[in-house]
């Protein structure tokens, strides 16, 4: 049966892009903007485009923060954070002041230091170096590059890092802690390899279903 993937809608982000990609892979998707909407999904996707502080506020205002944490941490429902959605799982962020995150993965979000030849935001396709193939990168092939668009990076212990990229400084490209997955790049906008990453996540969800 098709996986039921719930895209968390906190009023920010390119939700439709994520839904389009998941539907292309044959998933059943729906948006959840309230705690009731979160119920009964096989997995969650936490997308996001925008500022950290406002995103956390919106999650709280819609009553999503507590219930989502319960589902992910206590009930261990798989989740994939994308871009800002990856940063939100950190303990805190320095974007426009200091903000507390969801705190699911130990780490902090800080501004990318600008090098001599680099510009911010870090926009475009960048190569990634994979350190943990299983399960997210099992299907990727060819030149491994993905579409990034961000100005802050996730700083955490290597143990959680599944891929990195270089932009004069190293940037965490994706993380994994058990059933919590997140990518700094946009798999839904990274053509075939992006879709392959999403397919791997969906397969993981299917295999871990009890």
């Amino acid at each position: 049966m098709a996986q039921r993937i719930c895209v968390v809608d906190y009023g920010m982000g390119n939700l439709r892009s994520v839904e389009n990609a998941l539907r292309f892979l044959g998933c059943r998707t729906r948006l959840a903007a309230s705690p009731e909407g979160l119920k009964g999904a096989d997995a969650y996707v936490l997308p996001g485009v925008g500022a950290f502080g406002e995103a956390m506020e919106n999650l709280a205002r819609r009553g999503l923060r507590g219930p989502l944490s319960g589902l992910v941490i206590k009930e261990k429902v798989p989740i994939l954070g994308i871009c800002l959605g990856m940063q939100l799982v950190a303990e805190s962020s320095d974007e426009n002041g200091n903000h507390k995150g969801l705190g699911w993965v130990q780490g902090h979000v800080r501004k990318i230091p600008v090098g001599k030849t680099t510009r911010l935001p870090h926009i475009g396709w960048n190569n990634v170096e994979i350190s943990k193939t299983d399960p997210l990168y099992q299907k990727v092939k060819g030149d491994l590059n993905f579409y990034f668009v961000h100005s802050y990076r996730f700083e955490c212990d290597d143990e959680y890092v599944s891929a990195t990229c270089e932009y004069d400084v190293p940037i965490t490209a994706s993380i994994q802690k058990g059933h919590i997955f997140a990518t700094q790049f946009h798999p839904e906008k990274s053509q075939e390899n992006g879709l392959r990453v999403l397919r791997s996540f969906v397969d993981y969800v299917q295999n871990s279903r009890h």
Binding site: R16, S17, N20, R119, L120, G124, W125, Y147, K189
Partner: protein
């Protein structure tokens, strides 16, 4: 490291994709859905879709077109045209775009541009800057659809839109638009060195070498064009092959191979020998189901 980007620009006028020449003459191409579906599968890095009559006609952004073109578009999509309010930005993103491009609003409502940048992030806001050589011989910035002169200095204006919160500048030369004379390299250089955000060069591409020049001479982070992609076979793939052979770090994601092939002076592929063609006659390429 970060790749340079190739971004086809699709110009929308009265719901049709058109070729634009000098911001004044328009030749119809066809439906937006078809054009986007094609280029999205042609190894491009992003797509820039702009509705050039939305602002002039006072229309809100065309979200129904955005939502139909974004369905099978798995590369980033930027939409411009008629965006004046935060609600407009939200509706365009909800319809499936990833970024919005603003032009007129930068002049009429800079506070809105700043607010949009705060709310949706700088990476979401592309400032479209059109430049034309002015009457006094100095280039100046044009507002809206390229017809209203503002007297503003391009570099100064580029810094202002950066301060407003734009995350990228889409730089177009009105003089070069549709002329096939190549980018205004001096202009690209000037803007790229004036700001710290990425600059996308557009306007005037007539041959593949122009893309190379925009990046290597102009210093652009990305190169864009419209007309060349519409009447040239394999145009996007050839453009990338050309960039690659010139030593530009660009993403290649195509089954097409361009090893051991050359280009003629017009940038067309050189014909391969008969033996070569016969050897690949029955090569089978398995389609992957992701």
């Amino acid at each position: 490291m970060l790749k340079k980007r190739l971004i086809p620009c699709l110009v929308l006028r009265d719901n049709l994709i058109v070729q634009s020449i000098g911001f004044g003459t328009y030749l119809p191409i066809g439906r937006a859905e078809i054009a986007v579906e094609f280029v999205a599968n042609w190894d491009v890095d992003e797509i820039f879709l702009v509705d050039i009559t939305a602002t002039r006609e006072g229309r809100p952004p065309n979200t129904s077109i955005v939502s139909s073109v974004s369905r099978d578009c798995f590369v980033p999509l930027t939409y411009g045209g008629g965006i004046r309010t935060l609600e407009h930005v939200r509706s365009v993103l909800e319809a499936g775009a990833d970024k919005v491009s603003v032009n007129t609003a930068c002049f009429t409502d800079p506070a809105f541009v700043s607010k949009a940048s705060k709310a949706f992030g700088v990476q979401c806001i592309v400032a479209s800057v059109d430049v034309k050589s002015g009457s006094k011989g100095r280039p100046e910035v044009m507002q809206g659809d390229g017809h209203k002169a503002t007297g503003k200095d391009p570099a100064e204006w580029a810094r202002q839109v950066e301060d407003m919160g734009a995350g990228e500048i889409f730089l177009n030369s009105v003089d070069r638009d549709g002329t096939k004379k190549g980018y205004d390299i001096e202009l690209v250089q000037e803007i790229a060195s004036a700001v710290k955000i990425p600059v996308i060069a557009c306007g005037g591409v007539g041959k593949l070498q122009d893309f190379v020049d925009g990046i290597l001479l102009g210093g652009a982070s990305a190169v864009s064009a419209a007309n060349i992609f519409q009447y040239t076979e394999h145009s996007t793939i050839l453009a990338k092959a050309k960039l690659k052979t010139a030593g530009v770090d660009i993403r290649l994601n195509t089954a097409a191979k361009y090893d051991n092939v050359g280009f003629d002076e017009h940038g067309r592929l050189l014909k391969r020998g008969q033996d070569d063609l016969e050897s690949i006659w029955f090569e089978k390429h398995q389609l992957e189901e992701i």
